[in-house]
Amino acid sequence: MSIENKKAFKDPVFIKESGGIEEYKFEQNGLTVLTLEDHSAPVVTFMVTYHVGSRNEAIGHTGSTHLLEHLMFKGSRNFNKEKGTAIWNELQNIGAQINATTWNDRTNYFEVVPSKHLERAIEIEADRMRFALLKDEDRKPEMTVVRNEFERGENSPFDVLDKNIWATAYQAHPYHHSTIGWRSDIENIPTHKLQEFYDTYYWPNNATVTIIGDFKKNEALKLIKKYFGEHKRSENDPPEMYTEEPKQEGPRRITVKRAGQTGVVGVGHKTPKGLHKDNYALQLLGKILTDGKTSRFNKNIIDKGLATSVFMYDFPFKDNGMFISYIFLTPDTNHQTVEDLVIDEYKSIINSGVTTEELRRAIAQTKAGVAFSRDGSYAVASALNEAIAIGDWTYYTTFMECIDIVSESKIQEAAEKYLIEDNSTTGWFVPKKVEATQDAV
């Protein structure tokens, strides 16, 4: 970059503030920056969130967002093994906690570093935003690494069942496939497709940078300008993912049979897009059903000795999601018995609603959860990352206000609207009993 260009790159523009977090934008290249100063520990978290995830993949290159994330650690123009500046070494040698994660709607790279090393984190992330090396000789060994990650997941009955439920519930929309992708795609995707993917999505105008913790805002913005100011905006905007899931017109079922010891039942119902207001009611309903010993499933399933544990999730995604309850059965429990109990509980909420006390407790649990989502710079960055992913970072800062105004009737209405049979996908993991054996070799 020439000196003239550096001079020409302007300071960021303040956009808005919410919950102590400030948003800035570098208008020339479109990079968004979020800042939150907190000097309680000499630590800072730096994170880059790219607005690309497995929802941007199609048949033949499922898992490519995640495989690309792995390759991003193999080296960039200034940080690579040949120069003795490999990314892992540069950061771990200063005690940084570093990693990256990929999910449906986003990919994030982060460094939690002692405050004095913030510049190094910024420099590395800026370098690999546009100058990742992405060599074929690096993809080949990394493919088997990612395949082993896939294989480890396949060891778990829960992971296998969860993948199958999503694949059954979503037929057209790319949430059909899990983020790690199908095994044959992981094995066969060529390097040039990953390069295309990188050149389509890894641009400043498709990214949000977040800095949380012990730093001085003006100095940090100068550093971001210094390193990310080198990058231009992409010539074309990243393509929109426009596929929508057709309306489901009847219940769906899936059974997975594999060697194992105990059964699992999963009951899923499609939910609206993450930013839809009904999701706040569904979040509270999830707590009423499964959070804590007084929750309905704990009383009606766990305390009857029918299951070892229950677990539900209703993560807000950019597009539609799933409200899924998982029940891990005790050895002699029948799948149908537990499935019936789950459905009966849903019907009870549809018919009679929830109590004021249940709602009050769920709100209190949520409030404490929100307070703890601010415990440490990484915790804040991590929660903010998911809000960025669904399309509005203020989802994080305004979440509690929206939860506070949910009423009992809103929860009942949400249950009536979404927890209906024709909108459901139910999955059973049925174990095939095979005893383990041990051999001295």
């Binding site: 309680s40 520990a41 070494n89 010891q261 415990d375 440490g376 990484y378």
Partner: protein, 421 residues
Amino acid sequence: MQFKKQVIESNPIEGITTLSMPTGIKDVITFGGSFLGGGLYSPKSNKKIAALTTSMLDKGTESKSKYEISDLLESVGAEINFSCTPHHIQFTGFCLKENLETVIRLLGEQLRTPAFLTEELEILKTRIKGRLEQSKEDTKKQALIGFLRSLYPENHPNHRTTTEEAIEQTENTHIADLKTFHKKYYRAGGFNFAAVGDIGPTKINDLLKSSFIGWGKKEIPSVDFGLCAHPPREKEKEIHISEKTSTDTYIGQAIGINRDHADYYALMIGIYILGGNFSARLMQTVRDSQGLTYGIGSALSGISFGSDGYWSTWGTFSPELLTKGKKATMKEISDWYYNGVTSDELEAKKTTITGAYQVGMDSTGGLVSRLLSNAERGRGIEYLDQYPNIITDISLDSVNRAIKQYIDPDKLTTVVAGSFE
């Protein structure tokens, strides 16, 4: 940040030590505590007694049902969780500042006067047996059990019961066993309590005093640590678990020293250079260059509280890459042992460890954990400030000497669990 300046240590009543650390976080308090009475203190005939006693603490007290306990906590969004380690009964929790009194009073009640209802124990036993059945298909857990049983004799702190034994012991546990155990070990004495966040020491001490006064002080008999690792039972062992797509492998040996030994730090950092993080040798070669595994690492474990610990290297391999993966791992171990580590590697890992130590102060949970484990080991707060200097002072010669002294590549045990080709 200096722990010595920021942590206030006090003794609200005899047998209880509090460590309070105010931080910048608003309204939230994280706490944790522990006292001796963990799994090793179970009767030799049934090693599940300690853990089951701890698991009954949230199932009702003499004056509150389990639902009343949960309701009290959930209605204010607070948590108290109990757990049982080999040595300690531990609890962790969090609450908003305004609810601290409610939560500490409840903690006192749960520890002092659990209800021990027979019907609750029966439900708990059913759930635990279910979890144990599930764990039979956990390749990592089964490999570790096999590995530790090969190294240590029964009743050694690092020995593990088989899953079948654990199921049988769970089945054979009765309420009377739990009541007897509780009476003996749930008392003040060596009780450490750490709290971090929006907190003042006076408030916490007053609450602990009123919640635990008159609890009684216990004399804890020491667990017999005369037991040492025995020569490995087998050099190599395979545990077959059907239809698994990834195997778990443990390779290692007992090292004969504990955390208080003068050579501990040198050996620890030497092993860190081999497999402590992503930029360590094993991840750089077996994963990054050769693509044989998603994860591989090496560490010292089972070395606290006077127990002779072990060194293990753990990795996951696809069944078809298992032989190649083990061979590549052994090559790295061999090179590390015979050629030692370099000065550059040592200096890099020193800054890794001291930097990571600073990063670990990022959350109240991390600080509580650090304060508590330090107190459990009987160390003063000043140790937490001295730790980075201890790491910085380790010499290259001491590291390479420790590797030669405590590791023997000819006497390794390898245990793999999974499906084999």
